[in-house]
C-alpha cells in the first residue's frame, strides 16, 4: 500500500443477511483527492461508505469478506474487524448524509456536539473550534448572531453546510459524502461544491453522487458501482 493511498480494499464483499450487496471490490483511494462513486440507486454505494466509517457494524445482519484498510495518522486500521472500537475511527472519518441531519438542538451545540462526545470540556477551546469550523464552511457570517437558534430553522443549504462543519470540527482526515446536494436547490448545491473543492486541501473526500456533471466538475477519480461490482471509469 502506497503512502499516498488513504483507503485500500482487496476482494471486499458486503453481505446484508444472505443478500450480497458488494462483490469482490478492490479499490485504492488517494489522499487529499476527491474520489467519486456513481451508479444506479440501490447498487451498494451507501453500503460501501458504511464500510469506510465502520457504520456497517451498527446494521444488524451485515457481514464482510475480504480486506479493507484505512490509513489514519499514519497508522493502518482494519475496517473489516468488528471487534475494534469504531468511535475513534469515526472521529477521523466524518460523514455527511443526503438529507441534512442537524440534531434537534441549537446551531452552536450541533457543531460543539462531537467535541463534547470526545470528552473535551475546555469552553474556550470549544468556542474557537466551533467558530473555525463554521468559517471553513462559510457559514460563520450567516449564523454568528443566531448560534442559540434551533438548527432546524436554517435553510436546507445552510443545514447541510452546518452538518459539514459539524464533521469538520474534529478535523477529520477523511470525509464521506452521501449525495450531499441531492436534497438541495441549484444555488445551494453550487455553494456546497465550492466548499468541497476547498476542503480537498487537507482532507480525503469520498463523494457518492449520481449527477454526472457534478462528478465531472469535482472528482479526481471516478468509480462506478453496478450489480455490486465497482469499476474505475
Amino acid at each position: 500500500m502506497q503512502p499516498t493511498t488513504k483507503i485500500h480494499t482487496n476482494g471486499l464483499s458486503f453481505y446484508y443477511g444472505k443478500m450480497q450487496v458488494l462483490q469482490d471490490v478492490s479499490v485504492e483511494l488517494q489522499d487529499r483527492r476527491i474520489t467519486a462513486i456513481t451508479g444506479p440507486s440501490g447498487s451498494g454505494k451507501s453500503s460501501f461508505l458504511s464500510v469506510l466509517n465502520r457504520m456497517w457494524t451498527e446494521i444488524p445482519g451485515v457481514h464482510l469478506q475480504g480486506e479493507a484498510h484505512i490509513r489514519l495518522g499514519g497508522q493502518l486500521h482494519d475496517l473489516c474487524d468488528k471487534r475494534q472500537p469504531a468511535q475513534h475511527l469515526r472521529r477521523k472519518v466524518g460523514m455527511v448524509f443526503q438529507t441534512p441531519n442537524p440534531l434537534p438542538m441549537s446551531i452552536y451545540r450541533n457543531v460543539a456536539f462531537p467535541l463534547k462526545l470526545s470528552g473535551c470540556s475546555d469552553r474556550q477551546q470549544i468556542a474557537a473550534q466551533v467558530e473555525s469550523a463554521l468559517r471553513r464552511t462559510l457559514l460563520w457570517d450567516e449564523v454568528k448572531d443566531l448560534l442559540k437558534k434551533d438548527a432546524r430553522q436554517l435553510s436546507g443549504g445552510q443545514q447541510q453546510r452546518l452538518c459539514i462543519a459539524r464533521s469538520l470540527v474534529l478535523e477529520p482526515e477523511v470525509l464521506l459524502l452521501d449525495e450531499p446536494t441531492s436534497a438541495l436547490d441549484v444555488a445551494a448545491s453550487a455553494g456546497i461544491e465550492d466548499l468541497l473543492l476547498a476542503l480537498k486541501q487537507d482532507c480525503t473526500l469520498v463523494l457518492v453522487s449520481h449527477y454526472l456533471d457534478q462528478v465531472k466538475r469535482l472528482a479526481d477519480k471516478v468509480y462506478r458501482v453496478d450489480n455490486g461490482r465497482m469499476v474505475q471509469l
Partner: protein, 292 residues
Amino acid sequence: MGRLLARLLPGFSWCCALALTAAVATLVWFLLRGGLPAFNADLLFGGTRAIDALLLRRQVFDGLFPALFGTVAMVLLAVSLAVPVGVAAGIYMAEYAGGWSKHLLSLVFDVLAGIPSIVIGLSGFALAIVLHRSFDGRLGPCLLLSALALAFLVLPYLVRSTQTALEGVDPLLRHTALTLGASKLQNIFLVLLPNRLADLTGGIILAVGRCAEDTAVIMLTGVVASAGVPDSMLRQYEALPFYVYYMSSQYTGPEELQKGYAAAILLMIICSLLFVLAFMAQRRLKSWLLYR
C-alpha cells in the same frame, strides 16, 4: 345480505357511538350528583385542622386525607421502583437484544402485561408470608410490598413504551451521533432518549395512572380499612380506590355513602388529570426544551 348490511351499518354505528357517550355521561353525572354535596373542607380532613393534617401533626379520622396520602405515597414509591428498571430493560430490548432472545423476552413481557393484577397481588401476598416466616414476623403486608407488586404490574408497560419510543427514532437521527464518533451509550443518552422524552414521559405518567387506580393488587398486599397516615414504608395504609370499594359495600349511612361518591370523584379527577398530562406530554413536550 351484503346490501342490507351496508344499509344498516351507518345507523348501527351511530347508535353505538351515542350509547357510549351516554354511558360515560351517565357515569359522570351520577357521580357528580351523589358526591358534589360532600365536597367541602371536611371531606379531606374531617374534624382535624387542614394545616395540622398536612404537616402530619395530627391524625385525620373522618376524612379522605389518609387514603389520599396513602395512594400518593404508594404511587410515588411504586413508580420510582419501576421506572429505572423498566426504562433500563426497555433500552436493553431496543438497543441490545436481538434474534431469538429478543423474541423470547418480548413474549415474556407480553405475558407479564397480561397477568391479572389480582394474581400479581396474590404473589405479593405469598411473598409477604414467606418474608413473615423468615424474618420472625417483622415483615408482612405493607406499603412497600404494595409498591413492589404495583411496580411489577406496570413494569411491562414501561419496558414496552421505552422500547417502542427508542425503536421509533428515525434511522438517520439514530446514525448521526454515531458517525460523529459517539459511543452506543452516548448515542442513547445524548440523542435517542432526549429525542423521545415526550413519549417516555407519557408512558411513565400512564403507568402512574395505572398504579393509582389499581385495587386488586393492593387489597392483597397491605391496604386496610383504617390506618391513618403511615409513618413508615413498612406500615399498612389506606388508599382511595380501596376506600371507594369499601364504602360501596359497607357504608353505614347516607353521609358515608356520600363520601364514597366523593372519593370516587376524587380518584377519577386524579386519574383523568394524569391522563391529560400524558396526552399533553406526548404532543407538546418537545425534546428541544431540554437542550437549551
